[in-house]
Symmetry: C2
Subunit: 146 residues, 2 copies
């Protein structure tokens, strides 16, 4: 019983450490968490409208306006005309933004390697499978509670 809570706490502790690592990156890049998240999404999806960024980030369109304003000021993204829809703007990383996105992806992969490369393959398989099961259990629980 007690073990189960301790185990959940360990998952959260590890996530907190990863967050602290990201916070260090943000300080060095002079970026905030919200803007870094937007850049991350942009890196994963490519040039996007602000509406699609709002959906991906789970925030309001107004909020995206502010985040993009900040990233334009800092030179990480630019607004470009949408090729077919004149209402929309395409948010695109600048060269500076691309560097940050590349560092993010690289840093994330490097952290994963450093954390897990010494873990024996069978243990890592059990670890990953347990995470999968737990995520599936959680998803089912949330659907039940609607």
């Amino acid at each position: 019983m007690e073990d189960l809570t301790a185990t959940l706490d360990k998952v959260l502790h590890l996530a907190t450490l990863v967050g602290a690592d990201l916070a260090r990156f943000e300080r060095e890049s002079e970026l905030t968490t919200a803007r870094t998240h937007l850049l991350w999404v942009l890196g994963a999806t490519g040039p996007s409208t602000q509406q699609s960024l709002a959906s991906a980030l789970g925030v309001s369109a107004r909020n995206v306006t502010g985040l993009v304003d900040g990233l334009v000021s800092s030179g990480h993204v630019s607004r470009a005309a949408h090729p077919t829809d004149r209402r929309a703007t395409l948010v695109t990383p600048t060269a500076k933004g691309e560097v940050v996105i590349h560092s993010l992806v690289e840093g994330h992969g490097q952290l994963a390697r450093r954390l897990f490369e010494r873990v024996p393959a069978e243990r890592l398989a059990v670890f990953a499978a347990t995470l999968d099961d737990t995520i599936a259990t959680f998803t089912r629980l949330m659907e039940e509670t609607q």
Copy 2:
């Protein structure tokens, strides 16, 4: 190689789901994340000065003033005189605050049980041990990078 990043992503995904569950609790309690965090610390440590809350939360003293102001307004905590240091105030949960703290602890334990109770004991042991190792590896890495 690719697996390692995917595994780290799963840890973060699970933590995000737990965060979403907490967000639901916060909506129902009409509390914000920062104020809920303060209540959680208060539940773990007992009545505290604002300075010690600032250290525990990793935020400025000024910030704690604002969070406590909000929690006093909502009736979750009260400020009391410190028994020996007349500069300091002791932040103490009210009856209403105690109910929230109890729900937090209870909900957290219940979630852990629901998530992990079906996992076979040996697998859970491997899972927890891997988390311990990974956290230790991370801590060592951060110390090295100073």
